[in-house]
């Protein structure tokens, strides 16, 4: 009997990929471990191995095909002992299926049908996937910083970040990038893709796996007059280096009475990814935002990521720039301007509303926008604010919105205790008390290390439903 070989998911959030190359042809025999194909996503190129032994029957998706959905049957494998005659026959049978499979892949009409057609590949409903899906929401209010009539282009978050670095490197010889796999590998998450080719190995530097050391080397280089961009593969690993970020970089200017500066950017993915467990899923926003002397930026969309990373590279102060892995592949509109730089320390109204304010940042903004959409259906008009910079925090924008809506929920993908949400609550208590018609509520992840199991992960992470419940609490609605 023929075995259907399906387009594999190479990461928990992968939905489709390019079938770059077939390394087997019809009639070849394969055994377990043989590489059958190369599959590309925007993140990586992976080799696809055979698990079962057999003869390659019909190849259903040609090499070079883009946007092949995960779960699509790409080839059939004739099992052991099957006669050649059967193998000849099999393609004839599957021919009828083929156009259907292609149609599905191309038009993506109905995910439910697709899923039921491929039950083995059914998406596991996880908390991270919910966040990923919610991140398909765009700002509903144009950024006032974009001049009217500016042409917008679609860029993924990772492209926007790369472009920001490349533009600043072209403009300033002192800027360089260092980190694990940033050069030859083109970035563990492909954020530095192409930089080595353009700038060479003097300015795009692969480091050993040695976070404490290279964070110190970068910081020393900044003290010595350069402008390093230090990439951490994830901020989880930066805990090894936090001493240099806090003790060496953040405090230098103050301790030297303002004569020794440390213009450095520490950047990389932060927060929960998908099913990577407790040690790889943590939001360090509140940690760094508690440190005087640091700038902390955590953008949501690609336009902000680009404009703020350029600002981060240019500023004389040390910056912790927190990206989100789940958003890297997400496309957003980015203004096509020669020099798109945003001010640090300014929040942005992403959606206007009058009944309640949802304050968030990073991937939480997608959830907040999704919640606002659902709330609108119930007649609750929510305003959504993206903080963008966590330190210095734009209190003015938060308090202005509070004065307008009199109710506030802070949505944060991170722990609730000593969080950015806690900080916003405090600001509202201290400076916005008279504007409050209800207590400000924190909607955060649960106060536990992030579990691995899909159901528990979903329970632990913030969701738009949790935000909605929070909004209903502060608006006294059921």
């Amino acid at each position: 009997m023929a075995i259907d070989i399906k387009m594999p998911a190479l990461s928990p959030t992968m939905e489709e990929g390019t079938l770059a190359k077939w390394l087997v042809k019809e009639g070849d025999t394969v055994k377990s471990g043989d590489i059958m194909a190369e599959i590309e996503t925007d993140k990586a190129t992976m080799e696809f191995e055979a698990v079962d032994e057999g003869t390659v029957g019909k190849i259903l998706v040609e090499e070079g095909t883009d946007n092949v959905k995960v779960g699509t049957v790409i080839m059939q494998l004739q099992g052991e002992g099957e006669e050649a005659g059967n193998a000849d026959k099999a393609p004839a049978e599957t021919k009828e299926d083929e156009p259907e499979a292609k149609t599905k892949a191309d038009t993506k009409k109905d995910d439910k049908v697709e899923d039921s057609a491929h039950p083995a590949q059914e998406k596991v409903e996880t908390g991270a996937r919910q966040m990923f899906e919610a991140a398909k929401h765009d700002a509903e209010v144009a950024d006032p910083a974009i001049p009217e009539g500016t042409e917008m282009v679609k860029l993924t978050l990772r492209e926007a970040l790369r472009d920001a670095m490349a533009e600043e490197m072209r403009a300033d010889e002192r800027v360089f990038v260092m980190g694990e796999e940033v050069a030859q590998y083109q970035g563990a998450y492909k954020v530095t893709q192409g930089l080595l080719d353009e700038f060479g190995d003097r300015r795009v530097i692969d480091t050993p796996i040695t976070e404490y050391g290279f964070a110190g080397v970068g910081t020393g280089a900044a003290m010595g007059g350069l402008r390093p961009i230090v990439e951490f593969m994830t901020f989880n690993f930066a805990m090894q280096a936090i001493d240099h970020i806090v003790n060496s970089a953040a405090k230098t200017n103050y301790m030297s009475g303002g004569q020794m500066r440390c213009p450095i950017v520490f950047r990389g993915p932060n927060g929960a990814a998908s099913r990577v467990g407790a040690q790889h899923s943590q939001n360090y926003g509140p940690w760094y935002a508690s440190v005087p002397g640091l700038i902390v930026i955590a953008p949501y969309d690609a336009a902000d990521a680009k404009g703020l990373l350029k600002a981060a590279i240019r500023t004389e102060d040390p910056v912790v720039f927190l990206e989100n892995e789940l958003l890297y592949g997400r496309s957003f509109e980015v203004p096509k301007l020669d020099d798109w730089v945003l001010p640090i320390g300014k929040a942005r109204v992403m959606r206007e509303g009058k009944d309640v304010t949802i304050v968030s940042y990073s991937i939480g903004v997608g959830l907040a926008l999704e919640a606002a959409d659902k709330l609108a259906e119930e007649g609750i008009d929510a305003e959504v604010i993206d903080l963008r910079t966590l330190r210095p925090l734009d209190k003015e924008t938060v308090l202005k919105s509070l004065a307008k809506t009199n109710r506030m929920v802070v949505a944060e993908e991170g722990w609730p205790t000593c969080s950015i949400a806690s900080e916003i609550v405090t600001i509202c208590m201290e400076e916005g008390f008279d504007d409050l018609d209800a207590p400000v509520i924190r909607v955060c992840n649960e106060d536990v290390p992030l579990p691995y199991a899909a159901n528990l992960e979903k329970l632990a992470l913030i969701s738009s439903d949790k935000i909605i419940a929070g909004v209903k609490k502060v608006t006294y609605k059921k």
């Binding site: 050391g213 020393g220 010595g224 350069l226 240099h244 003790n247 030297s256 009475g257 020794m260």
Partner: protein, 347 residues
């Protein structure tokens, strides 16, 4: 054929990589020797005064004195040029004076005054002078080693011909980040001289009680960084080692380690009860190996008269006393300085 030649080889094994030459004691002129003497004496008298002011409550917090170790910094830094940079840990007063920072700027920082080099906001352990290419003054043991590698990185990146002199102690030599930095420094051939000031005690723990390999100059071997052990109580040996190290590093051969065997006479900091070593041990070093007495003898041999040395002594005492008077009388920082210099830019 191969077998016979192997069997025959009785000659010493050829090192599989180039090594620096054995450093020779520096052949100092009379003027150079006098300068060494002045520099060491300035540090000694400055530190003694700092100890006094600490005792009077005018200096607070931690205060680590360099007394006994003067020959290390004087010998090494006398070989530097204006292109080079210096970074060290918290026992930093001496290194700063040698970088050309006026004693009163340092002393006023120790007393926490506005006129201090860090406007009174850094204190003993956190002082910097970009102008004099002195990059701190770092309070976290070992941090300056990575930072120093970074300064070396900047020298190389800018191709400015400079070398970073990165000092750390025998205690810091056991920190993990030191080895991370060794690895990168050699991998990228960074122009850094790693100076281990082995004063034999990391606070109260002797080298032998803390280090599996107590010959610290060997600590770079697994990174292919050559190391040289130097008598750190002898300023000429220190200067000679600096010459060799600088030639190695400036020759593009990557970093080098100098282990300077030295001794601090005072406690780890002013609050050290010094129970971990005997008074006799300290006295024996003072009597036999004092770096300043050593230079005095050399000067005597060169015909420098006692009167001339006395005059130097008087001059230095005067300068140190002036710096102390200044540090006591100059005002504390204005309260509004509390919020300045947190960030460079306005947001």
């Amino acid at each position: 054929m191969a077998r016979t030649s192997r069997a025959k080889s009785a000659e010493p094994p050829v090192p599989n990589r180039e090594r620096p030459n054995e450093p020779q004691p520096y052949d100092a002129s009379k003027d150079e020797l006098l300068q060494f003497y002045k520099d060491m004496l300035l540090i000694r008298r400055f530190e003694e005064k700092a100890g006094q002011l600490y005792g009077l409550g005018l200096i607070g917090g931690f205060c680590h004195l360099y007394i006994g170790q003067e020959a290390v910094a004087v010998g090494l830094q006398s070989a530097l040029t204006e292109k080079d940079s210096v970074i060290t840990g918290y026992r930093d007063h001496g290194h700063m004076l040698l970088c050309g920072i006026p004693p009163k700027d340092v002393m006023a920082e120790l007393t926490g005054r506005q006129a201090g080099i860090s406007k009174g906001k850094g204190g003993s352990m956190h002082m910097f002078s970009v102008e004099h290419k002195f990059y701190g003054g770092h309070g976290i043991v070992g941090a300056q080693v990575s930072l120093g590698a970074g300064l070396g990185f900047a020298h190389k990146y800018n191709n400015d011909g400079g070398v970073c002199l990165a000092y750390f102690g025998d205690g810091a030599a056991n920190q993990g980040q030191v080895y991370e930095s060794f690895n990168m420094a050699e991998l990228w051939k960074l122009p850094v001289i790693f100076v281990i000031e082995n004063n034999q005690y990391a606070m109260g723990t002797s080298v032998n009680r803390a280090s599996a390999e107590d010959q610290l100059y060997r600590r770079g071997e697994s990174f292919r960084i050559p190391g040289i052990q130097v008598d750190g109580m002898d300023v000429l040996a220190a200067r000679g080692a600096a010459e060799e190290a600088l030639a190695w590093v400036r020759g593009g051969k990557g970093p080098i380690i100098l282990e300077m065997k030295t001794y601090r006479y005072r406690g780890h900091s002013m609050s050290d009860p010094a129970k971990y070593r005997s008074r006799e041990e300290v006295q024996a070093v003072r009597d036999k190996s004092d770096p300043i007495e050593h230079v005095k003898k050399l000067l005597d041999a060169k015909g420098v008269k006692e009167d001339e040395l006395k005059a130097i002594e008087t001059e230095i005492r005067k300068a140190v006393n002036e710096s102390a008077d200044f540090a006591e009388s100059t005002p504390e920082p204005d309260p509004k300085e509390l919020y300045t210099d947190v960030l460079v830019e306005k947001y």
